[in-house]
């Protein structure tokens, strides 16, 4: 046997579940039975969202239009974070859908953020080819929830 230096896979799963708090600043109280609410907001193609985007409130170029509520829609995480090999992963359990909206300004990004957190902290930014919607539906279909294609992965 030999020891191997590694970030443990269980820690990678724990990160999704807010198990660890290395610093108390901004860490809300969590219990295993209480999940936060996450939302998905859409942003115009003229935006500059990316790795430096820290929160929903800090991103000011959200789309607007008939049928679209500022802040976006709730994202369903019906499946608990899991791992395979040394990769942890998490994927929404349902498509993210904006029904009967008119968004005339082209948009090409979705910000996933924590709506329960008072600071509306960001999780991830996803981009796609710029779209508009007219009295229609815009949906984001999720990839397979596994270590290869899961929407959020820590490898």
């Amino acid at each position: 046997m030999a020891n191997t230096q590694a970030m443990t896979t269980s820690f990678k799963v724990d990160l999704f579940n807010a198990v660890h708090a290395f610093n108390g600043t901004g860490v809300p109280a969590h219990t295993a039975s209480t999940a936060d609410t996450f939302k998905a907001a859409l942003y115009t193609a003229a935006s500059s969202l990316g790795a430096s985007t820290t929160s929903y409130t800090g991103a000011v170029t959200e789309v607007s239009g008939t049928g679209y509520t500022a802040g976006g829609v709730t994202v369903t995480f019906g499946t608990a974070p899991s791992s395979s090999g040394t990769t942890s992963f998490l994927t929404p359990s349902a498509s993210i859908t904006y029904t009967t909206v008119t968004l005339s300004t082209s948009f090409d990004a979705m910000l996933l953020y924590n709506d329960t957190n008072s600071g509306k902290k960001s999780v991830a930014v996803y981009t796609f080819t710029a779209q508009t919607v007219a009295a229609g539906t815009f949906s984001l279909t999720m990839p397979t929830n596994d270590a290869t294609t899961g929407l959020l992965r820590i490898a």
Binding site: T102, Q131, A134, A135, G136, S139, R153, I154
Partner: protein, 61 residues
């Protein structure tokens, strides 16, 4: 019936246009309905392919 910017309309009255975008990042399909040269309905569906991945590493002493 199709939901349009002018209300519910019979599909037979509209010109339908469809398209697909397929690249490393996404597969997107869209459908448009036009009425006498005016776009009255557009829907789009994006299948994301590329996840956000973070690599956890440990440093050596």
């Amino acid at each position: 019936m199709i939901t349009t910017t002018k209300g519910e309309m019979d599909e037979s009255l509209l010109e339908k246009r469809e398209g697909t975008i397929d690249n490393d990042n996404e597969t997107t399909t869209w459908v448009e309905y036009w009425l006498e040269g005016e776009l009255v309905h557009r829907s789009a569906h994006v299948q994301l392919k590329r996840a956000v991945v973070s690599f956890g590493e440990t440093a050596e002493f």
